[in-house]
């Protein structure tokens, strides 16, 4: 992070990092499916096969379930977020400056005008949601509107527009579903394992199965934690990406820098936000992360680090 980068390079790097993380997550889900399948086959046949057909089938099933579940979540996800306390759609006359700023940035981004919403709370925050370009929503809190200058508001709106254009809602839904699926399957595997061990104790025949059980036990305990860490890492990469894209839109990092400064100072816990939606906000609405917070499970990078990276973009 010593050399000055431009926003294009920063965006490319964040995209590459996301792809690596998604590959890790897919690999993790696939291996768990395979292990569970292999164990089932061992249980029923009594020997450990070199290549488990059932394992491959289970890995495929994991992929199919992940895709199907993601599709359903994407279809209903928007409504869940927007039914959150106090979010209501506004027209231009309700908050002309906010509306104008969103319109400006949608021209800068070359995307259709999203819906604009205001959340009636004094907390300073903003979020964006939308599954495809052209049907998004950008919401800011009343506290944010009152506290920020026009330039700062522009930086925040550009960050949210960046989430919409980069399809981050979709990314995070798919990642969240895969992580949930890993947790579910590991949980099921742990339950099955107790039962399986008792059975193999009776038989004493399958030593290959015994090794497999230990491997699966370790994986089933560690995998959900690893998946969660990967999910949070993806979330942080998308935040950095949105910050860099925000500068592409406004060509003025100073607005977002000074807005983030105010958000860091006055971030207040936000009523009515569930864990499922916390990654959508510009700063985490539930916890206030500082550089002392353990970074591994944070949805957002620490604000000082984000400001440092933005300064680096040549503000």
């Amino acid at each position: 992070m010593s050399a000055t980068t431009d926003f294009v390079a920063a965006q490319n790097q964040n995209r590459r990092n996301t792809m690596v993380l998604l590959a890790v997550l897919t690999l993790l889900a696939g291996s768990i499916g395979y292990l569970v399948g292999a164990l089932l086959e061992t249980e029923s046949s009594g020997t450990l096969p070199a290549v488990s057909q059932v394992g491959i089938a289970a890995a495929g099933l994991m992929a199919a379930a992940s895709i199907g579940w993601s599709a359903i979540s994407l279809a209903v996800g928007d409504r869940m977020v927007l039914s959150m306390a106090g979010a209501k759609a506004i027209e231009k006359q309700d908050a002309p400056q906010l509306y104008n700023v969103v319109e400006e940035i949608s021209i800068a981004a070359g995307v259709p005008m999203p819906r604009v919403m205001v959340l009636e709370t004094d907390a300073l925050n903003a979020f964006a949601t939308g599954n495809k370009v052209g049907s998004g929503t950008i919401a800011v809190t009343r506290g944010l509107l009152n506290a920020l200058s026009r330039d700062e508001l522009q930086g925040v709106v550009a960050h949210e527009m960046a989430h919409l254009r980069n399809l981050d809602t979709r990314y995070m839904v798919v990642v969240g579903v895969t992580v949930g699926l890993i947790a579910l399957v590991c949980d099921m595997a742990l339950r099955t394992l107790n039962w399986g061990r008792m059975r193999s104790d009776d038989r004493k025949g399958s030593s290959g199965g015994g090794i497999l059980i230990i491997v699966l036990l370790v994986v089933a305990i560690l995998a959900p934690l690893a998946a969660k860490a990967v999910q949070m890492a993806v979330s942080r990469q998308r935040e950095y990406l949105a910050d860099a894209t925000s500068v592409q839109f406004t060509r003025n990092p100073n607005g977002l820098i000074s807005a983030l400064g105010k958000l860091a100072e006055k971030a207040a816990p936000f009523p009515g936000v569930s864990r499922a939606t916390q990654h959508l906000f510009i700063v985490n609405p539930i916890h206030q992360f500082t550089s002392k917070t353990p970074a591994l499970l944070a949805t957002h990078p620490d604000i000082e680090d984000r400001i440092a990276r933005l300064r680096n973009l040549g503000g």
């Binding site: 002309p96 104008n100 319109e103 400006e104 021209i107 200058s149 330039d151």
Partner: protein
């Protein structure tokens, strides 16, 4: 056998040409849409300026010269619109005059008490920003299009498919800055 290989190659080249063609059409259309957005916003600026001058002229009685200059620049820009060669410099002059007026208005605190003035000032500010952002997006789109048509292997086919290079909009020095109006 060799007939099939030959046919396969022909089909592959055909598919590749279609992909190049569609990609370039998409890029060119995006740039052209961006250009028409600039015109929309310039028109909006022409409409707004007389209204703003009208409401501030009593309070800013000592700035008759500035006000006249803004109106003059606006009328020149309206007259030049449609003529690409004259429109550029006329709009640049209008931008400069408008920014001057917006900056000067800061010296008149009583204007800030007037809702009508504040509303028009916000509208003019957002229109100025939209003009700047629309030009920026136009240039980004043209850059993406030009890069695409110059990249290998598209460069082999682009010219013969009728895709020439597009020109960037050159922003005058005075317009590179997004107007900074301290408005709260």
């Amino acid at each position: 056998m060799s007939t099939w290989i030959f046919l396969g190659i022909v089909v592959a080249i055909g598919l590749w040409l279609i992909a190049v063609y569609n990609g370039l059409v998409g890029g060119r259309n995006q740039a052209q849409t961006a250009w028409s957005q600039i015109d929309v916003q310039l028109k909006r600026r022409h409409d707004l300026i007389p209204n703003l001058v009208q409401v501030v002229k009593d309070a800013m009685g000592y700035e008759q010269e500035t006000l006249t200059k803004v109106i003059q620049a606006r009328n020149n820009a309206v007259a030049a619109s449609g003529n690409a060669a004259q429109s550029g410099p006329a709009e640049a002059a209008l931008s400069e005059a408008t920014h001057g007026l917006l900056a000067l208005m800061e010296n008149y605190p009583q204007l800030k008490a007037n809702d009508n003035v504040m509303q028009l000032q916000e509208e003019l500010t957002t229109t100025e920003n939209k003009i700047a952002f629309a030009r920026q997006f136009y240039n980004d789109s043209v850059n993406a299009y030009n890069t695409r048509r110059q990249s290998f292997p598209a460069v082999l086919a682009a010219a013969s498919l009728g895709f020439g290079p597009m020109d960037l909009f050159n922003m005058p020095e005075s317009e590179r800055e997004v107007p900074k109006v301290a408005l709260r």
